[in-house]
Amino acid sequence: MSTNKNKKNIIEISQLNKWYGEFHALKNIDLKVKEGEIIVVCGPSGSGKSTLIRCVNFLEKFQEGSILVSGTELTDDAQKIRKIRSEVSMVFQHFNLFPHLTIVDNLTLAPIWVHNETKREAREKALKLLDRVGIKDQAEKYPNQLSGGQQQRVAIARSLCTNPKIMLFDEPTSALDPEMISEVLDVMVELAKEGITMICVTHEMGFARKVANRIIFMDDGQIVEENDPENFFNNAESDRLQLFLNQILTH
């Protein structure tokens, strides 16, 4: 953690407000993320945590406030958005692999079409990444031939293919069978060790305790509390967080 102290902010969110129609989904969010920081966002469903990280790569538009990603401000400008999306990649709850492409083609798509790499380069890198997440032997299969845990690992490999500076995880283990959660978490722990900036929306408190630099608790579209793991779990300041922790940790 101490190593992060001197690093600059890679994400700066200030006074972010977002509405879905009349519904006020995010209220005055302020958040700064340093390079290499691992942040876990948790909170009850509907608290706006997914919405928040989806704003960071502009999958969701917001109405007020600003987001700076490595110095570039997010606006409607398609060029800027594409630039940011090439630095920020995302892993989804339901994997969202492309079912009509083989695993390796899923991985090489962005490098070839967005980053103008040659087919061979992209393929080599893809196979290396697949090896890293432990499914190199499935490279020529189609996504639906793989188990959920394998698919999510492919999705992680796909988002690594473009050498992103920031990775966003949107409940990456929520759609998985219990048997498969740990294989995905293992990959994420490995990534965390390598110094990539990560923001994870997850309910895996064991993971949060182990790798997070900071844990953020959200409710009702607001950041209620943020703290390092030690104090987050043991010295909750607000009664709302205490209630939440009691509910998820008693089982």
Binding site: S89, N96, F98, P99, H100, W113, Y142, N144, S159, T162
Partner: protein, 383 residues
Amino acid sequence: MSVFDQQATRKPPISQIGAVLWLKTNLFSSWVNTGLTAASLYLLYLIFPPLLDWMFFNASFSFGTINFFGFEIKFSEEMATNKNCGRVGACWPYIYEKLYMYTYGFYPRTETWRPNTVFALTALLFVIIPLVKNYKYKNRVILSLIIFYPIVSFVLISGGFGVLTVVETHLWGGLLLTLVIASVGIIVSFPIGVLLALGRQSELRIIKLFSTIFIEFVRAVPLITILFMASFVLPLFLEPGNNSIDKLLRALIGIALFQAAYFAEVIRGGLQAIPRGQYEAADAIGLSYFQKNALIVLPQALKISIPNIVGSSISLFKDTTLVLIIGLMDMLAMVGLTTADPYWLGRETEGYVFVTIVMWVMLYSMSRYSKKLELRFNTENQN
């Protein structure tokens, strides 16, 4: 701790498989179904024997001597006439004699090798595409075929290039014309349909509005109206005496626009079946709007739409027979034309049965081909 023992698998009981079981479950599962089965069999008994009698047993096959690719096949001493064919059975020599009309219309007899070459190329296309399936540059091969095949076909059929003399479109007819109208209609309308479908989903208001109005307008109008408009009303707006736009071309434009609206709706259905997550994943990895649609959305949407695309194409194929209203002599129009020949008066039945059979063979093949495509592109559910 006890050891987990896996039990051996075994076959289902013998009473649960086989033909008897099939009969029992599908034809005689209840008294109502048994009754329906009996009624259907009786209906078939009523229809089929007379039909077979007419088509084969009482029919005349006195073609005389046929030259079939250099082989002399002798059916009878001389060809039957309308009179000695009789009225109990079909008179197939009529079809044989008018086969040229049914196939080429008034296309000059000396030039038939040209449409024949196009027919052969078409057949070759269906042979080549599966053959290059695993070839490294298959995309390039298929793309060049898609570009060159229509050009070559057009030049061959219409002529006006080098040694090929011009054959005016009013001479085209029969199956040739049917195929030209159907394939041009389908091939030209397809990309327009894709664009309209994307347009209707677009976030740009004007494009969306234009696409929606076009689609809804065209779909609310019968094809025959569009053909009339294209054929009779449109020339009124053009300069008088200036018949520069060919009648067939006008009909083709009308048909292509008509079909594009239907394709657009069929493809829109496919687009709506693509989960939002696919769009989001495509956005998240940084693909542009064009790349997202070309690489992620359309391949999946079109695949889902194959059955409906083919269904719609089959509809159009059948609807091409309407062009006889505006005086184009397609295969169906040939029935009326050839039986107006005093020598073959009253042989419409044979003509209609023949056209029916030809149409059925072509359209059923199309439907089978689509089934094959569906299976080949199905990567979602193969395990």
